[in-house]
């Protein structure tokens, strides 16, 4: 009944990234108090260093499925995937932050400490099989995000965004919790894997069904699926761009990993609840996200709506999860996620490279004539837009290919048609940027110039270049390899 946890080397191997981050956050906290060590450089060192170290630890994580502390900590390929991806994003964002105008505000001890702690929350959530841990990790990440979103360099916009995100996020968390409570009542366990195993027996019970749907809504909320998406545009727009990039990618990774744990194995038993639920959410997201993005002029807000649409595509693959033994949908999601993360990082990286302290809310107009001012940046952004739009030979196309593949394998013809329509709409606004960059005359930005990107050897350029290359490679020669590498993570959660 009470099994005392064993903290052996295996445990520490798995927990290491979290522990390193926590340690780092404590050091950073110290830095915020002690003047002598609170220089920007020192904080940069601690932040970047601890994330890098955690990343190394994450890479060393065992890929075999094993749980520790009664399932509160879970190793395995999927956990590893999530941990590495989140840490890699964090590292890239930290590095890019150094070159951003907000760097001075970001690399303060307390901010860095919060950043590291929320990062650890994400890792906890990703590598856990336990609702309690999951919830605590989620809140850790969320509360941290509310703060870094609005208060690194507070102003009206960011504060408003933070408070809105806070309110809606808390409601979302409460809904998710409500759902878990009901599932707990129906299944009698707080461990995800056991819950999922017990679900078939109670699948028709009202508690399970309501709970399942509420969990779906909660997850949908964090994934920013319509109609639970309202927080995303505000949050994305108001946050400093680096944080937007971080949030847009890591939150999706975190939630999708949990979603895969939740829905994959249990999907069949709950098909009549979850499948239609996700179908509705996915369809709405693809349509609403794309249509709303159509009329945005603020780039970050546009990308927010576009990310809603992309969540919709991933949700399509989630719907397809219920096929027995099929790892394809899982891998489709993971692949899509991977490409989405890379491309988003690249796109937000471009924004970060272009914006200045005076002009940190870039609009479509600001991109006018970019191809002449900074041809390489324009080229990079173009590649990202084509990838978002799902045009070959970019990764975005392969991602859509796999998602449609998974969906059609499950006879989800209607969803695919909606996806196709959504894609077509999306191409319009993605291409609008390309049009502005290449085909419009440089009108002169109304609110001050964008930053000329002169330094070729900067992190920003490196990230852009990496993202471009990765996007192209994942769209041409690598998808086969990538999908094979994802197989392990997929079999872990796929229904046997």
């Amino acid at each position: 009944m009470f099994s005392f946890p064993v903290f052996d080397s295996a445990f520490y191997l798995v927990a290491a990234p979290v522990l390193i981050l926590v340690a780092g956050s404590l050091v950073a906290l110290m830095q915020s108090v002690f003047k002598p060590i609170s220089g920007q450089g020192a904080v940069e060192l601690v932040t970047t260093g601890s994330i890098a170290a955690a990343l190394l630890a994450g890479l060393a994580m065992p890929g075999s499925l094993q749980d520790f502390v009664a399932g509160a900590l879970l190793s395995g390929a999927l956990s590893r995937f999530g941990v590495i991806l989140i840490l890699a994003v964090a590292l890239v964002v930290c590095l890019m932050m150094r070159e951003h105008h907000i760097a001075k505000a970001f690399f303060r001890g307390e901010v860095a400490s919060i950043f590291l702690m929320l990062l650890s929350g994400m890792l906890v959530m990703v590598a856990s099989d336990d609702v309690v841990t999951l919830f605590v990790g989620l809140e850790l990440a969320s509360i941290g995000l509310y703060v870094v979103l609005g208060y690194i360099q507070p102003n009206r916009r960011s504060q408003e965004g933070a408070i809105k995100y806070f309110i809606l996020g808390s409601v979302g968390a409460a809904i998710l919790l409500f759902g878990f409570a009901l599932l707990y009542a129906a299944c009698g366990t707080l461990r995800l894997s056991e819950m999922v195993a017990a679900l078939p027996a109670v699948a028709n019970h009202g508690w399970a069904q309501l709970g399942g749907m509420l969990v779906l809504a909660g997850i949908g909320f964090k994934m920013a699926l319509v109609p639970f998406h309202m927080w995303a545009p505000d949050a994305y727009e108001s946050a400093p761009t680096g944080i937007t990039a971080f949030m847009a990618t890591t939150v999706k990774v975190m939630v999708l990993v949990v979603a895969l744990r939740m829905f994959t194995a249990a999907a069949v038993s709950m098909d009549d609840v979850w499948q239609p639920g996700f179908i509705v959410l996915a369809a709405l997201s693809m349509i609403v996200g794309n249509v709303m993005a159509l009329v945005q002029t603020n780039l970050k807000r546009m990308l927010a709506y576009s990310s809603i649409a992309h969540s919709g595509y991933m949700a399509v693959a989630i719907v397809a999860l219920s096929a027995a033994g099929a790892t394809l949908p899982v891998r489709a999601i993971l692949f899509y996620l991977l490409t989405y993360v890379i491309v988003s990082l690249g796109a937000f990286g471009v924004l970060m490279a272009l914006e200045t302290a005076e002009n940190d809310q870039l609009t479509v107009d600001d991109l006018s004539g970019l191809s002449k001012k900074s041809p390489w940046v324009a080229l990079a952004l173009t590649v990202f837009m084509f990838s978002f739009g799902g045009m070959p030979p970019t990764a975005g196309f392969i991602g859509k290919f796999f998602v449609f593949n998974a969906a059609l394998n499950n006879h989800l013809y209607g969803l695919v048609v909606v996806g196709v329509i959504g894609s077509s709409i999306s191409l319009f606004y993605y291409l609008r940027l390309v049009v502005r960059m290449y085909m419009g005359e440089s009108a002169g930005a109304p609110f001050g110039a964008i930053r000329p990107v002169s330094r070729i050897f900067s992190v920003n350029s490196g990230v852009m270049a990496f993202a471009v290359i990765a996007t192209i490679l994942l769209g041409t020669v690598l998808p086969g390899v990538a999908m094979e590498r994802l197989n392990r993570a997929a079999t872990e959660v796929a229904r046997k």
Binding site: M117, S120, G121, T133, V136, N155
Partner: protein, 191 residues
């Protein structure tokens, strides 16, 4: 029916009624202070329910943390901000909002009907019946044992959460140096 058995039931309905009423009052009171007071009441009644469910430690924590800390914090802030009347305005309804309200209420009635299903069959009875808990050293003991074995990891994480909250509060609520909002020239430019 045996009267003895009826007492817990009556207790429940009494408490439940109180909880419901005070919950309603929390959200409908015009004055935030009133709301806060009803919130305290509400949380007390919930604690009583916990106690009735033999979750004594939880009940205690509920009173201590919620009523003792959180609500005090609320009241404190309300006082601190010394809210002007405009912030005290009550609930306004437009037609659309009324429809939303109606749909939500009806929806919850339907959902409630679904919730009121009997306990699912076939669930294994856990080892810790009330009697077993008593035997094992009481609610608090068992809870602690469970918390510090199986839930040790989240417990530790929760500590980080609290730390984060502290740091965050400090950072967020700290008085800024004179307005640095001039950064954002586009602020107010709308969407």
């Amino acid at each position: 029916m045996d009267a003895l058995y009826a007492i817990p039931q009556l207790m429940f309905y009494l408490l439940a009624g109180l909880v419901a009423i005070s919950s309603l009052m929390v959200v409908t009171s015009r004055n935030p202070v009133t709301s806060a007071i009803f919130l305290v009441l509400d949380l007390f009644f919930v604690a009583a329910l916990y106690a009735k469910l033999d979750a004594h430690f939880t009940a205690a924590i509920q009173v201590l943390v919620y009523a003792g800390a959180i609500v005090v914090l609320f009241v404190f802030v309300i006082m601190l901000l010394n809210l002007k009347p405009d912030a005290l305005r009550g609930i306004r309804f437009s037609v659309g909002e009324a429809v939303v309200l109606l749909v939500t209420l009806i929806g919850f009635v339907i959902i409630g009907a679904e919730l009121a299903s009997p306990v699912p069959e076939g669930l294994p009875a856990g080892p810790l019946s009330v009697a077993a808990i008593e035997e094992a050293g009481g609610n608090t003991h068992v809870l602690a044992m469970r918390m510090f074995t199986s839930f040790l990891w989240p417990f530790e994480i929760a500590s980080i959460l609290i730390l984060l909250a502290i740091v965050a509060c400090v950072m967020v609520a700290r008085k800024e140096k004179p307005e640095s909002g001039k950064h954002n020239l586009k602020a107010g430019a709308g969407r």
